[in-house]
């Protein structure tokens, strides 16, 4: 397969996973086109997080194939796997910053140890990324000294520094206090507008409505509905997505972004 103008950057085919005797993913497939933002929603336990972690093989899928730019990724070819992971940035719900490194080092460590970039250059690049997410002034602070929103922005900077082609975001705002959600969503919105290809699990309905190109609704390990938000979220359409989002809206007040 060759890459065409609007061909998929990332393609997941038929991903299945059993964990602890339970079928978490039942043959999930999707594609991400360049610059596209797809959103994964659905009840917890539906397999969203497992799916995202299967995409970069943090959880190796039992079955299925992943293609990046048309090339199939094989988990057993370690070198290829590491190279692939550099091109697929991941943002976690609970940040997973490296606690012994300050913000600048958190962002530069993989540049130095994985991309083998010299320390000075790596730190310069890291600083650019921290400034891009609006926390250049926090470069010397350690994770324990940062707020949740700042930590998540450091983790986004850390992923961006690797020049990823695709980003996987696993509920990036779910662990945040309501007043901190906006600053993180603003960063992600900028990425979307700059054309970053992303797939993101989130419950931020307002964000989905305005920015998502496509919604994938996952339940019990399957994608049961998909389509653009304009279709799936339209009031009166008796879609599963519509029901779910109505419920979410009842439960949470959303910050404006």
């Amino acid at each position: 397969m060759t890459i065409t103008e609007n061909g998929p950057v990332l393609r997941a085919e038929n991903i299945s996973k059993v964990l602890g005797g339970k079928q978490i993913l039942k043959g999930v497939s999707f594609t991400l086109k360049k610059g596209e933002l797809k959103v994964l929603i659905g009840p917890s336990g539906g397999g969203k997080s497992t799916l995202l972690q299967c995409i970069n093989f943090l959880i190796p899928p039992d079955e299925g194939q992943i293609y990046l730019d048309g090339e199939e990724i094989h988990i057993h070819r370690k070198r290829d796997l590491y190279a692939y992971r550099q091109k697929v940035g991941m943002i976690f719900q609970d940040f997973n910053l490296f606690d012994h490194l300050n913000a600048l080092e958190n962002v530069s460590i993989a540049l130095r140890k994985v991309k083998k970039i010299a320390r000075k250059e790596a730190l310069e690049r890291a600083m650019i990324e921290l400034e891009r997410v609006g926390i250049g002034d926090k470069a010397n602070l350690y994770p324990a000294q940062l707020s949740g929103g700042q930590k998540q922005r450091v983790s986004i900077a850390r992923a961006l520094a690797m020049d990823p082609e695709v980003m996987l975001l696993d509920e990036p705002t779910s662990a945040l206090d309501p007043e901190l959600i906006g600053e993180v969503l603003a960063v992600i919105r900028n990425l979307a507008q700059d054309g970053m290809t992303m797939i993101m699990a989130t419950h931020q309905i307002g964000f989905i409505r305005t920015l998502a190109d496509n919604i994938l609704f996952m339940q019990e390990g399957e994608i049961i509905e998909q389509g653009p938000p304009s279709e799936l979220l339209m009031a009166g359409n008796a879609t599963r997505v519509q029901q779910f989002c109505a419920k979410m809206n009842e439960l949470y007040e959303e910050p404006e972004i």
């Binding site: 972690q53 970069n56 943090l58 370690k78 590491y82 190279a83 692939y84 992971r85 550099q86 697929v88 940035g89 991941m90 976690f92 609970d94 940040f95 997973n96 910053l97 490296f98 606690d99 012994h100 300050n102 460590i109 993989a110 140890k113 994985v114 602070l141 350690y142 994770p143 324990a144 000294q145 983790s155 850390r158 992923a159 690797m162």
Partner: protein, 225 residues
């Protein structure tokens, strides 16, 4: 009593030199043990199962046999069996090092397993190999957390090093025994030996405490301010 003072005064430089030998042996053993302990802990946590089992076997053996038995076993038996001729001093460092390595491994294993698994995931997600992640992300944090346990182990090994006198290493205990058997001033001499051990313990523990404060991660102290 004046005679006791005289004996102490005269033998003190000799005993102090013994304290130097003890310190050298213990520092050597602790560093050797550090390397062994880290390798064992990493194998137990991340290694393939057969290697983890092997590490477990090693730990089981060295924790299960008295240090005195190990000293005899290696110095008079195993070292010569494999054809290496080591001085008593080197043997003491190796045996104490292998022993403390077994104990230290469990300090490091506990520290590694106390770290959130998410950090390893994040490191992998950035394209790090497991080895790169262990070296750059896991161990720097685990070793910090291990300093209090390491300091405990130091004070234990320091005192275990007195057993080295049975091999004829000229450390504190051997020298004290030597002077006492000539002068019959057992009480003041062994009090002096005890004080030397006490000071070495104190110095080491104090230094490790300083190190702990120096490498503390900002924002992580349980202390206020």
């Amino acid at each position: 009593m004046p005679e006791a003072f005289l004996v102490i005064k005269e033998s003190f430089p000799y005993l102090l030199e013994g304290a130097g030998v003890t310190a050298a042996a213990v520092v050597g053993a602790m560093f050797f043990g550090l390397i062994i302990g880290v390798v064992l802990a990493v194998l137990q946590v991340y290694g393939p199962r057969p290697l983890g089992r092997l590490a477990g076997l090693y730990i089981w053996f060295f924790r299960g046999v008295p240090v005195l038995v190990l000293l005899f076993l290696f110095y008079f038996g195993l070292f010569s069996l494999i054809g290496v001729n080591l001085s008593a001093f080197t043997s003491v460092i190796l045996v104490l090092g292998m022993t403390t390595g077994a104990y230290q491994s469990q300090i490091y294993r506990g520290a590694i397993e106390s770290l959130p698994y998410g950090q390893l995931k994040a490191a992998r997600a950035l394209g790090m190999s497991d080895w790169t992640a262990i070296k750059n992300i896991i161990l720097p944090q685990a070793l910090r957390l291990s300093i209090p346990g390491f300091s405990n182990e130091y004070s234990i090994i320091l005192k275990d090093s007195a057993l080295a006198f049975v091999l004829g290493t000229s450390e504190i205990m051997a020298r004290t025994h030597f002077v006492a058997s000539r002068t019959y001033q057992h009480l003041p001499l062994y009090v002096t030996a005890g004080i030397l051990y006490f000071i070495l313990t104190w110095l080491g523990v104090k230094a490790l405490r300083k190190l702990e404060d120096r490498v503390r991660i900002p924002g992580y102290s349980h202390h206020q301010g």
